[in-house]
């Protein structure tokens, strides 16, 4: 069921498939047998108490855990039916397809323009300056930031407000035309207005992308996502349509968590 009722959503197709994913940091197990189907053109929310493994799982999806020495990932993760652990798949290429936005806005210490142009340049996505200009503008528009920055493109990205910086990071993430956008608590340092802007953006992004968002705000998960996964102590406890999770969760642990009860 589509809670926003645009009615134009095509039948969901699975973009990311995870089966029996186990993750260890040294001998400590952070995730146990996680299985999940993430729909394309939809927003999937990961919720759960601190330390339950949401970020760990998110990082599995673009192999960001590869860079953590102690981290061992087992199990099958497929993007469009192909294993992301396949030797022929270049992790750098994977990260161009699966972009990430972090909790704290982290613009490069460069101009607004260069922040967005960075990815397309290193991936060689454009062949002329004019093309690059167009791509930067399209990305800033896509992140709902163009109107506020069109006259400030040469100013440092770090000079923007927190909410603007976060939208700049989203513009940077979508500049490489990813297929999937991973967002780890993207609004946790933003005020309600900036949060609404990012949420509105996330809602619109799903027309083009597969979006996965980690959030500690139940209201945010309820507002922006179509599917919600509840993690607890390294287990995926419940995964269902968002409206089901928030009106009638099946598992008592989910119920306790989302209603703020003593678990």
């Amino acid at each position: 069921m589509n809670s926003h009722g645009t009615g134009e959503k095509p039948a969901a197709s699975v973009k990311i498939l995870a089966r029996d994913v186990n993750v260890h940091y040294g001998d400590k197990q952070a995730l146990n047998d996680v299985c999940v189907d993430v729909d394309d053109n939809a927003v999937t929310a990961f919720i759960g108490p601190s330390g339950c493994g949401k970020s760990t799982f998110l990082r599995c999806l673009n192999r960001m855990n590869d860079s953590i020495e102690s981290c061992r990932v087992e199990g099958r993760i497929e993007l469009d039916g192909e294993s992301i652990h396949d030797r022929s798949l270049d992790p750098v290429q994977l990260r161009a397809r699966v972009g990430m936005v972090f909790q704290k806005p982290n613009p490069f210490p460069k101009s607004v323009y260069d922040n967005v142009a960075y990815g397309p340049r290193i991936h060689g996505l454009v062949s002329s300056n004019q093309e690059l200009d167009e791509l930067v503008e399209a990305s800033l528009r896509g992140a709902a930031l163009w109107d506020e920055t069109r006259d400030r493109l040469r100013e440092p990205g770090t000079g923007l407000s927190g909410g603007q910086q976060q939208r700049l990071c989203i513009a940077r993430a979508i500049a490489t035309s990813p297929e999937v956008l991973l967002m780890d608590e993207p609004c946790s340092s933003l005020d309600p207005i900036a949060t609404s802007q990012i949420e509105e953006l996330i809602h619109n992004l799903r027309e083009k992308y597969c979006v996965v968002i980690v959030t500690h705000s139940m209201q945010q998960a309820a507002r922006v996502s179509q599917k919600t996964a509840f993690f607890h102590l390294g287990w995926l406890v419940e995964f269902n349509d968002t409206n089901e999770i928030f009106t009638n969760p099946r598992d008592e642990r989910t119920e306790s968590y989302i209603t703020g009860r003593i678990g």
Partner: protein, 241 residues
């Protein structure tokens, strides 16, 4: 059902207060039904008037419940079972207020009946129906307080008996009217009272449905088989005269 406490204890307090207000409302409605039946039996005009006046208390409590629920929605943003609880409370308060209105309407009719005494036996029949409805209401309020979906399901089944009782009362009153045209006025009033009680039963069923939804998250399917069949008796009524 074991109720786990909220981490934020003031939230529990708010929910508890809301439940208490609904229970108080239910208590007043129950008393109103009992008193109406007594006023009818004892020809007690004063009591009948008091029932009419006291309906304001029920209406006042309903507004209080609505406001408190609205505040809770705005300030605590309840979800899952908490949201279902608030939703159920709002609907139950509406149902109770309506039952109170039916009782008030019956009380008004008892004062009319003082001038035109009803046939022997008819009042006793109404009182039996009234008692069944009052017990059903009490049990449905208990099922709400105890969050007992099983009990609520039984009430929905028992409401069918109320419907059957109403149907047979309807025929009884029809007989009085056919036998003695002078009984038409009181019998019509008694019939409306019976109809009010039958409608009250439907609202009690609705309360029970809310309890089931609140507890289980599923709306019970509407499979009430026995309904008021008197709508189909127009032909035989026409044949009377």
């Amino acid at each position: 059902m074991i109720e786990k406490e909220h981490i934020h204890s003031a939230f529990d307090r708010d929910l508890h207060n809301l439940q208490s207000s609904v229970m108080r409302m239910g208590g007043l409605v129950e008393a109103s039904i009992i008193n109406t039946s007594r006023a009818l039996a004892d020809n007690d005009e004063e009591l009948a008037r008091k029932i009419v006046d006291d309906d304001q208390l029920i209406d006042g409590l309903e507004s209080e419940v609505n406001l408190a629920a609205l505040e809770l929605l705005a300030l605590r943003q309840p979800i899952a079972q908490d949201l279902r609880f608030v939703f159920a409370v709002l609907k139950i308060a509406t149902n109770l207020e309506r039952i109170g209105d039916y009782s008030k309407n019956m009380a008004k009719r008892t004062t009319v009946l003082l001038k035109t005494p009803p046939p022997n036996g008819a009042v006793a029949s109404i009182r039996r129906l009234s008692h069944s409805v009052q017990v059903l209401l009490k049990d449905s309020l208990d099922s709400f307080a105890e969050r007992d979906a099983e009990k609520a399901r039984e009430i929905i089944v028992r409401d069918r008996d109320i419907d059957l009782m109403y149907n047979s009362l309807f025929r009884e009153f029809l007989t009085y009217m056919m036998e003695d045209p002078r009984s038409i006025t009181p019998a019509m009033h008694l019939h409306f009272m019976a109809k009010n009680l039958e409608r009250a039963g439907d609202h009690i069923t609705s309360v029970s449905e809310q309890v089931i939804f609140q507890v289980t998250g599923e709306m019970p399917k509407d499979d009430r088989l026995v309904e008021d069949t008197t709508s189909y008796e127009a032909v035989s009524m026409g044949a009377v005269n």
